[in-house]
């Protein structure tokens, strides 16, 4: 039985088929939608102006970072290295005792794609490797840099249009992200949607790409006869998995590429988008 707060959340997220909603809860959801719709959006000229100022500030900060004397940089780097090594030693002593049993008890692979796996396990807390990143305004321009065939959807809901494409590489793992958004009149009406494509087994180590999820909110589905996974949940800053939420993520493999369709879309819409990429 859903409580009224959950009913409100479902109404606001447009979740259907979960049972009747009392008129009072529907009225509150309608009030929330009114706030969303009547809240002012920024003037495009202001957004552009501020964006320009930020880019200039970014360039200035890069200049000043380059201007630090070499001697000071070496001293600072040495001090940082000593500090990091000391911290790692302390962390290793602590984590060996505490984290290993926890992982042994929790880790469970639930889906294996070829070259990638999704497991029920705590989120990885290791420092991520640095990212090499390049943005492109169109698929055509990104294609040359991607190093693999970018799958573009032939179906998109609600008049979504492509904002841009990024090609990035981290730890030897190549990935492409296609970012879409809805009509500019109301940026929150449809919300941004991101399609990510991972070239599997592209890392130098040749090891599987791994994703960690919680035990709930993960469902096995089929997309065009292929095994796929629907994930609705996210990790909080405290490392706890929260099931549900407005964002969902669909994962399916096409050859050597793992496709993720995610954003403010229903499972059915994500599935339609993903299916259109497999053709």
């Amino acid at each position: 039985m859903r409580d009224r707060e959950q009913m409100l959340a479902d109404e606001l997220d447009g979740v259907s088929g979960v049972g009747p909603t009392p008129p009072e809860v529907r009225a509150l959801a309608e009030l929330g939608r009114r706030i969303r719709e009547e809240c002012a959006n920024p003037h495009p000229a202001f957004i552009e102006r501020l964006g320009q100022a930020l880019q200039e500030e970014w360039a200035r900060s890069r200049e000043s970072a380059r201007g630090i004397p070499t001697g000071w940089r070496l001293t600072r780097a040495t001090a940082l290295t000593i500090g990091v090594v000391a911290l790692l030693l302390v962390a290793a002593l602590y984590m060996t005792a505490v984290q290993a049993p926890a992982e042994a008890g929790l880790s469970r692979v639930i889906t294996v794609f070829k070259g990638a796996k999704v497991e029920v396990a705590p989120p990885v807390t290791a420092t991520p490797p640095s990212v090499r990143y390049q943005a492109y305004p169109s698929l055509e321009e990104a294609q040359a840099a991607a190093g693999f065939r970018i799958r573009a959807p032939s179906y998109l809901p609600n008049g979504l249009t492509l904002d841009g494409v990024t090609v990035s590489e981290a730890g030897g793992q190549r990935q492409v992200a296609l970012q879409y958004s809805g009509p500019s009149v109301s940026p929150l009406a449809s919300g941004p949607v991101v399609i990510q494509e991972f070239l599997l087994a592209s890392s130098a180590e040749g090891e599987d790409l791994a994703f960690q999820v919680g035990a709930e909110g993960v469902v096995s589905v089929q997309i065009a006869g292929r095994p796929a996974l629907w994930v609705q949940g996210q990790w909080t800053s405290t490392g706890r998995w929260e099931r549900g939420g407005r964002n969902g993520l669909l994962m399916v493999q096409d050859g050597d590429v793992l496709i993720q369709v995610g954003g403010h879309l229903s499972q059915e819409e994500c599935a339609r988008v993903a299916e259109s990429m497999l053709r």
Partner: protein
């Protein structure tokens, strides 16, 4: 097993976390990050201030602060959203204290809406007047949910509450707002 570096968080916020990491080194990543978050941040401030000019003034600083400290951002400590809205909330609190009291603002955006009927305009003014009369934290939840468009778990991360508690408090905030509107306008809500 090599630790995965790709967030399994669904949707654009996991993507934003990656962008934030890249933005310290890439101007394009910074531009994408800004484009994705600036309108929502503006709307967050607008719900609090109901003023275009104040919202514009306030929205600049969180981005500039974030830019100066992007190198210290670590996704494992929390999402970029939590980080950005943490800065935004501190900025808003400073602004309120400098004004020595609750925000007093007036410019409900009536310009540019020539076709709007008088009754609809009255409803809009009633709505934002009622929002402004809510307790600070009730208004904060409405700003995060309906201005910034954050999810319950994201609001929980920003505010330090449990997601279930966010749902309860948001429900109550909307109830209070509805009672105010029904009392004043005879049932616009």
């Amino acid at each position: 097993m090599r630790p995965s570096h790709v967030s399994a968080q669904p949707g654009p916020h996991g993507y934003s976390d990656q962008l934030a990491r890249a933005a310290a080194e890439s101007r394009e990543a910074l531009a994408s990050l800004y484009t994705a978050h600036a309108p929502q941040l503006y709307r967050y401030f607008w719900v609090h201030t109901r003023s275009d000019s104040l919202a514009e003034d306030l929205v600049s600083e969180p981005f500039l602060s974030a830019l100066r400290t992007l190198r210290t951002y670590r996704v494992e400590r929390g999402s970029f959203n939590a980080w950005l809205y943490g800065i935004a909330r501190r900025k808003l609190a400073r602004h309120v204290s400098e004004m020595s009291g609750p925000l007093q603002t007036t410019d409900i955006p009536v310009d540019g809406l020539p076709d709007e009927s008088a009754s609809h305009l009255d409803e809009r003014i009633d709505l934002w007047q009622a929002v402004s009369e809510l307790e600070g934290f009730d208004r904060e939840l409405l700003a995060l949910k309906f201005g910034a468009g954050l999810t319950y778990p994201e609001i929980a991360e920003v505010t330090g509450l449990e997601p279930g508690h966010v749902g309860v408090l948001l429900y109550r905030a909307l109830q209070k707002l509805r009672i105010r509107l029904m009392g004043e306008g005879g049932g616009h809500a």
